[in-house]
Amino acid sequence: MVHPCRDLQPPGIVGPFGHGEARHGPCSPPTPVNDHHLLSAPAWCAWLLLVLVLVLVGVGEGCSPIDDAAAGGDARSITLGAYTTPAAAYGTSLLPAFRRHEQERSGHDVTVRESYLASGAQARAILGGFEADVAALSHEPDIEKLRAAGLVTHDWKAGAHGGMVTRSVVVIGVREGNPKGIHQWQDLARPGIEVLTPNVRTSGGAMWNVLAIYGAAIRGHAGTPRGDQDAAIGLLAGILRNVKIMDRGARDSMLTFERGVGDAIITYENEILVGRADGKRYDYVAPRSTVLIENPIALVDAHVDQHGSREVTQALVEFLFTPEAQRLYAQHGLRPVVEDVADEVADRFVPVEDLFTVHDLGGWPRMQQVVFDEGGVYSRALDQSRGAAQ
């Protein structure tokens, strides 16, 4: 049988709504209308048409784009659901390298379909039916969402490096020559400094930024006493007061900065490194204390079993941890997790005096509760920043 969606499926990038968009329940009966003539015999023509449409849509939904060898268990096709930051790294370096690698190893061609969305949106797309075989997201909580939904069933943190495939740090991007003399987090709270950071409600990167400031303050490295929660909130409020624009995501925020808006941007180190490699003229500073960003990757058990692609997907995940792949990540400004490679490329990255992890702060679930939940550090800092401004 010819699958109707074979032709509909666009080649290359598969959006999260490529399939499953018509996933409603069975058609509910229409709202009753007073006119009893409405459903006279010929009116069933209209109903028939509707049912026909629903059936067609249903067929489109039913067929998965990757069912070549669902029964055999040796599919040669992978769907990657990733966040946007490493899009260039995957698209231009890592996936072509993996294909060559697989060609040599097994003599088979492998195709990888790529989808890039903001981390939270990507996690939601996968939860909503986007059948990614492997999820590469910005932070642990987004993978945990997949685990909670039963899509990731293995202990994804059990592997080498705790399931984290790349690292980066939160830094401060400044104008060329650092005219405003910004070096530490507390400099961002000075009056008259315009700061960019994305919205924490939409951006995983923004959450890392807030954690970097909060962690540095609570550890006593940002001009605040160690362990003083109120002082940490005060610093965060001072910085938030200087934030002029909260863009949707780290990439948008960087583009705003590149348009010339703002004195400083809080962002991933790799965004800055990629921009500078591209010829953009701005500098950056690493504050004395900042957070080590760790980006997870996990095979999505439910989908690889459904597609029969477990073996090839597992090969991809393992490949990404090889020195070769880790070096390619480093070329795109991301810090490698493999020690040897990290030592090799250490001179490309600025040293940080006090580099802490989310684990040092008590782990993601605790940070979610203390910092990001309603009434937490972030919302209190936000209130405080606006209260003082008006």
């Binding site: 229409p30 709202t31 209209a46 509707l50 409600r201």
Partner: protein, 279 residues
């Protein structure tokens, strides 16, 4: 063969099928999604709904959206009427070009409109820099929101008032002048009663459109919670962060105001329709 009188009132089977099909179309396309939204918004009960809508960030976003939309509705009503007046009454050169430009905001994707405004009035642009020296921020502040809304709602009042003005019987105006009325009195007695309903209903549509504007706002507003975050952008953030119920609750509130605006517009149109028929 001639059709019997009242043929249009007694539809044949084909028309009936078509009619019920279209009713179904509207119900499925508009009513069902709206009801679903209200259902999700109220799913946790009215108390939760109220708490969500009155939380500081949500409330400030709704208030900002309401007053900017209202302001834009008022400005559009006044300026839009004036533009229609100029377009109809004066033989401007290039009038057709000008008239087409009025419709342009509907054709331009609003995201593009936002980028346009940000480039033109942004703090690094020539215009933005000059205003910045005077201490006036346009983009990434509230004026930017109003500016973007004025752009995207421009056509509504102009297009509502224009046909009314064009169809006005010149005899009435001539009569007023012949009877000795000055320009102001002529305007108040002849033009205003005819224009007002169209201008008001156009203004209501502007307001309704402004309540929901997202594409241009997210670019020009700055989106700072409690300051420049509008309700649509807030709703977007809640969806993105996996809080669909909060999003639905605030959406429901905005929707109610938009419905009220459109109902107001319909009411004004019907009233004037009735008045026209009897006069």
């Amino acid at each position: 063969m001639s059709l019997p009188l009242g043929h249009a009132l007694r539809p044949g089977p084909l028309e009936r099928a078509l009619r019920s099909g279209l009713v179904l179309y509207i119900v499925l396309l508009v009513a069902v999604p709206l009801l679903a939204l209200g259902y999700v918004g109220l799913a946790d009960g009215p108390v939760q709904f109220w708490d969500r809508v009155t939380a500081p960030v949500a409330r400030s976003a709704v208030v900002l959206t309401l007053w900017t939309a209202l302001l834009v509705g008022v400005i559009d009503t006044l300026v839009g009427t004036a533009i229609a007046w100029v377009l109809v009454r004066y033989p401007l050169t290039g009038r057709s070009v000008l008239s087409a430009m009025v419709d342009l905001p509907l054709a331009v994707p609003t995201l593009v409109a936002g980028v346009m405004l940000a480039i033109l009035y942004g703090p690094t642009s020539v215009v933005g820099e000059r205003f910045g020296l005077w201490g006036i921020e346009i983009v990434f502040a509230r004026p930017g929101i109003v500016l973007a809304l004025l752009f995207v709602t421009l056509p509504f009042v102009v297009r509502a008032v224009e046909p009314v003005l064009a169809e006005l019987d010149p005899a009435e105006e001539e009569a007023a002048i012949v009877l000795g009325a000055g320009p102001l009195k002529t305007f108040v007695t002849v033009f205003l009663p005819a224009l007002l309903p169209a201008a008001l209903s156009g203004g209501m549509r502007s307001l309704g459109r402004a309540l929901g504007e997202f594409g241009s706002i997210i670019v020009v507003a700055g989106n700072i919670p409690l300051a420049t975050l509008t309700a649509p952008v807030f709703i977007f953030g809640e969806i993105e962060s996996g809080a669909p119920r909060v999003a639905a609750a605030v959406s429901t509130v905005i929707l109610l105001f938009a419905l009220a605006a459109y109902a107001g517009a319909r009411l004004i149109e019907q009233r004037t329709g009735a008045r026209r028929a009897t006069s």
